[in-house]
Subunit: 341 residues, 3 copies
């Protein structure tokens, strides 16, 4: 692990040192776990009380935070401790880049193109006509179907599956167990059974996307399913066929989005939310955790609850909900007074 | 990709051509994406307005739909555009069937029987005594335990796991990452810890079933977990130990069914619904999205909400729910009028 | 399959035989499926009526249960039929322990240490510096990153992924498709895009834990994510970065726990429940199925509903909820009587 002085940390964090900047640190840890050669950070005022007891050599903290520091601790004053941390971490924990090359156990189909700077791990299986770009990494046991594209600098962790024709954009990261481009769930009843509607569309993940572990994104039935540039999708999410997810969208764990729904740029869907099919979630909209979205949501709107409604309305109804037993009692008293029953 | 005339498409779709049937098409696309050599389809009236601007050579549309077509476009008039599409797609997008044979990297246990017409992909691992039927396909990296059965024409995609003894019926399709026959979640507290109850039952998937990506279906504790003939299960679904899922059941993504519950033939469970253990969901019942089923549901009934109730009742209560703040205000006014408070 | 007399079964079950204990049995089955050489069990009075028609040779039943037995059936009277079953099953269904050794197809990094008594399956990939303990089993296709620890007697089924540095405690069982130690979902907006915050913490599974199929447990951002000793986690569960799950906790299928939440010893989270981030679920607390936990829960408390409230309060409000339409009608009548409108 690299070592650097607190002064160097401050330079990377674009901050200013308060105290002794010449000491050396070699890692980051939470306040209560940090050792004397580690730095820590505090982003919220409610954690300020933990600073006094911390052994950390230095703490990343907001410029204007009024926090007394213990004698052994320096402060690195920054505009935004979270962003500063995001800058410091790669320097203290440099990612080990595997050596380029195709592991001898990888099985390659005909006409596969793999850039010389790419890495293909043990037991990867790559189908006919698939292309792997510059510096891309294909993890151990990852299976790419026929005619897939893995663009430059994309990272596919172990055990990913790309069905035939799926595309992963530049610099995107696909975590272990994600399944991209499987058949959408399309059947028609033919009088005796559910008959499969062949799913012939594509699955396109654009650039700078991150897809979590065991998430599933189905191909389009006809036409493509798309996850737009810069969007981040957590673990165990389901995105149905022909969904169009915009750019810079955040989708938290276990969300489910039914087929043909469009999600606008910058929208945020919180954990376990469910969205019906053929809906429109506007740009910048926010969907609350576990919300059940049964109608389109306007741009910028925040919805929650089941069925999902504008958040303020949902909150008011929920507040009243827990007063229901009392409300019924009051109603009964009124009835007694008015109707004598 | 095969090419065919619009007349040929109409023959497969069991429809009638309106316009020039001699032109050649080579694919299907949504109205707004279709090129001049592709056909499209419209199943719902709300999409009729998009027909005028489409470049498609022809459109599959209901016989009685009153839709003006642009000059370049033919119509293929059919009884049901969705079913017609389901017939046309396999002709225009024929599935590539891999050559039979066992990949040299597959690891086979003792007494494994694999039909000569079956395909076993790279790095498949097949346990002792397991049988793979005629024309069945075992995908790359799929792991079959000991004593499993993969019946004729079944397709297991890449990265599937069958635990010991799991059975997959004829023509069934199991998608990537599905886990069939893992231990059910059975523990008893012994005073110092949760002690595992050995799970010794089976996991039986009958014929013509489809199981989605990353879905998990546990083996029975004693006795079997069963998914009946023709049922279709979407991605990321959980089916607990000893569940008995009937025939032609539809289970949408992220549904969870607790142990020992029975689901009758033709029932439909919408996305993210949860069903408690030891319940009975009657034949043809419908469970709404995100519904929380805490009691058995009668055959043919539709339930929704949490806890799930007959849909009409749940809808009425939900409608009233969002009027709660107003209702409280009215109650307060009444109290003022009647009780002077 | 081993055979034993009913007398032997009774000895293992710590019970007393009623009837002929000399007969031989060779398996366990549910009452309605049991053959004449199998035993069955009844733990709940509602299943007593099924005893008469059962073919089972013997039945495990509570000492004081007043159940008439058919002539062919013996009873094994025990304190607790479920615990008795948990003792009898391993004797009748002994687990086959694979022979120790590393499969020749396994790919091992530098400085990997594997105990001579451990088993490593086909196509396992084990990263640099990883340690596999005595009698531990690493399933086919399982991928262990660099610097991981698999302690003595731990079992990793097929297709598990451990990211770099993840630790699995002694005797713990990790089911197929579980992903341990992937990056937490941490991003900061930098004005043009969501910038990844490097996730450098650990993922530590303590001893005697069981983790279900396709469950995902992320590493800490800084500091560790921990699942405590003896806890049992079902399939398709998501545990976010820096969560601290206590000892002997039960987490049922499809539960989601957001980052930095602490769950106390012995707590139980029922299926599909969701818990927000940075919360505290007290020791012994119980969270109902599908509950949406948005605030900390006191030790020993039972909560349910959305947003989760003490169970009794939630039940009362839900009961009133379905009377809302009637309540509105009564309110309207009162208004007519009082206000003349």
């Amino acid at each position: 692990m690299p070592q650097m002085t607190i002064d160097e940390v401050a330079r990377i964090a674009e901050g200013v040192v308060e105290g002794d900047g010449s000491r050396t640190v070699s890692g980051v840890a939470p306040l209560e776990e940090a050792a004397a050669d580690q730095i820590s950070f505090v982003a919220e005022a409610r954690y300020f009380p933990y600073i006094q007891a911390s052994q950390a050599a230095a703490v990343l903290v907001a410029r204007d935070a009024d926090v007394p520091l213990p004698a052994h601790m320096a402060a690195v004053r920054v505009d935004d401790p979270r962003r500063a941390l995001a800058r410091v971490l790669p320097a203290l924990y440099p990612q080990r880049v595997p050596a380029p090359g195709v592991h001898p156990t990888a099985v390659l189909g005909d006409d596969v193109e793999i850039a010389a700077s790419a890495t293909v791990g043990p037991y990867a299986v790559i189908g006919e006509g698939t292309r792997v770009g510059e510096r891309a990494r294909v993890g151990a046991h990852t299976v790419l179907g026929r005619g897939c594209t893995v663009a430059d600098d994309a990272v596919l962790h172990a055990h990913v599956t790309l069905y035939d024709g799926a595309q992963v954009g530049a610099r995107s990261v696909i975590h272990s167990g994600a399944r991209l481009g499987a058949d959408g769930f399309g059947f028609v009843w033919d009088g005796t059974g559910h008959r499969k509607v062949p799913q012939v569309g594509g699955c396109r993940i654009e650039a700078d996307v991150e897809i979590g572990c065991n998430t599933t994104i189905d191909r389009g039935s006809i036409g493509d399913t798309v996850v737009g540039e810069g969007s981040k999708v957590d673990n165990l999410v389901m995105i149905g066929h022909n969904c169009q997810i915009g750019r810079h969208v955040i989708i938290i764990s276990q969300v489910g989005i039914s087929g043909s729904t469009r999600v606008g740029d910058g929208a945020v869907l919180a954990g376990q939310a469910g969205v019906g099919g053929h809906l429109e979630i506007g740009a910048g909209a926010r969907v609350g955790g576990q919300a059940g979205v049964t109608a389109s949501v306007a741009a910028g709107e925040t919805v929650s609850g089941y069925p999902a409604r504008p958040h303020r309305e949902a909150m008011r109804a929920q507040a009243a909900f827990f007063k229901l037993p009392e409300l019924m009692k009051r109603l009964r008293e009124l009835e007694r007074a008015v109707l004598g029953k």
